[in-house]
């Protein structure tokens, strides 16, 4: 067979073509393995998560970096959301999103999640937010306090380490708002099961 010598230009073209075929094969492999898309950037992961949850676009009010994930506080009109984006090495994974529609008639509006709690403050006189919760298997009553919002009107509380049996969204909590002088000006209703099931007395 008469074969013409391959020139460097032809070799480069072949490398490019084979690289494209390799990428197509990798894409097919990802589809077959049903691998959740690894995103190259946080922005891509956030956009995809918001789209999957039909939220937004809105604005990012704040972000909190943790070891293996980033929490973004979002606002779209009267709706606030917390979007958790897991970080996997160089890539970002599919995130989760929870949201609450703000009720301006309430001084404090909570968005409870499993491990964290977002509180939206509507009363401008509230300078300190306190969360009182009962962790049945981790020492009973605990309080979390913050005086500085993470973003305008938004306070984000994380469950402390060592209390993995407690979940904000399942186990309930009580919110308190204090003014700058330290006076209690608002207290939400206590979860009904504290008294009904456990006979608890709410501490001051």
């Amino acid at each position: 067979m008469n074969r013409r010598p391959v020139t460097p230009a032809v070799r480069r073209r072949r490398i490019f073509t084979d690289a494209l075929l390799l990428l197509a094969g990798l894409a097919l492999l990802l589809l077959m393995l049903d691998v959740p898309s690894p995103f190259l950037t946080e922005r891509q992961a956030l956009s995809a998560t918001q789209t999957r949850y039909l939220y937004g676009p809105g604005a990012v009010l704040a972000r909190v970096e943790n070891d293996t994930f980033v929490d973004c506080i979002l606002q779209d009109g009267s709706c606030y959301a917390v979007c958790t984006l897991p970080r996997k090495g160089l890539f970002w994974g599919q995130g989760t999103l929870d949201a609450v529609v703000n009720d301006p008639s309430l001084p404090l509006v909570p968005l409870p999640r499993r491990d964290s709690l977002l509180v939206v403050v509507n009363d401008p006189d509230i300078a300190e937010v306190e969360v009182l919760y009962y962790a049945q298997y981790s020492g009973g009553f605990h309080t979390l306090r913050q005086t500085e919002p993470l973003a305008d009107k938004c306070y984000l509380f994380y469950r402390p380490a060592g209390q993995s049996n407690y979940h904000f969204d399942d186990d309930g909590f009580l919110l308190r708002g204090y003014d700058r002088a330290g006076n209690l000006i608002y207290e939400s209703e206590a979860p009904g099961h504290w008294a009904e099931w456990w006979g608890l007395t709410i501490p001051e």
């Binding site: 074969r3 480069r12 690289a19 075929l21 390799l22 094969g25 097919l28 589809l31 999957r52 009109g77």
Partner: protein
Amino acid sequence: MGHPTIDDFCAQVCEQVRFRPDHAAIRAELAAHWEDHAAALMERGIPEEEAARRALEAMGDPEEIGKELDKSHSPLLGWFQELFRALVWTALAVLLMCAIPWVAETVHNIADPPVYDEDDTVPLLEQYDKLKLVADYAPEGAVCRWRAYTFSVERVLVTWQHYPYADGYTLQANCLLRAVHPNPWLRWPRIDGWIQGEDDLGNVYASQWQQAGPDGYLGLPYTVFGGATHITPFATYYDLQIICIDPEATQLTLRFDRYGETLLSLTLPLQGGEAYE
């Protein structure tokens, strides 16, 4: 047939070219060039041997030619390209062999997707002849678009059911909802548990996560059940059941308004329509 002298010439040229896989092609190219030149000389009446000798002389210094060819036939680029091609094509061959059953299953799922809930709609369909059927149809125009998604109701099955919460029989609607998404990494839009219903009499059928509380319809916290049942790269199916629908209602609207604004709205008649096939 190769001329001994042209073969020696080619050998001297190839001695300078480090990338051995290209030697055969270089020899063939040089030999073809020499033959063409010799043939042209013979056409002008020069004897064959003399034409062959002159054509070979005209080729030039084999060592110089070899050194020039070596510059353009880099062994690094050459071996990389050869090995890369072998690797890619081997990997693709293995992948395609493994992909055959997946492709077959995907084609089958596209043609006849397993979309119904095993615990709710599947038992109804298995007892189809015994159903107190009101309507079973594929709605036209029940389509809603939001960004990357196109939502549509593929089938509505309306039956009479009896539940302990209501007096007498009420309507139940089993709705097959489909979301199409060209981007496979946006599959499974998270609307599970957030679709509410409202009939034309103003009754609201609450979703699991937007519960009405004990003051809700018939005192039930929620009356819309179901979620995603079949997720493929380009389409996600949801099997929804709305129970205890007012028997006087003639129309039901499925709605997604989790964030305070209605983003999806699909209105379905509860009676009539072309029979589903």
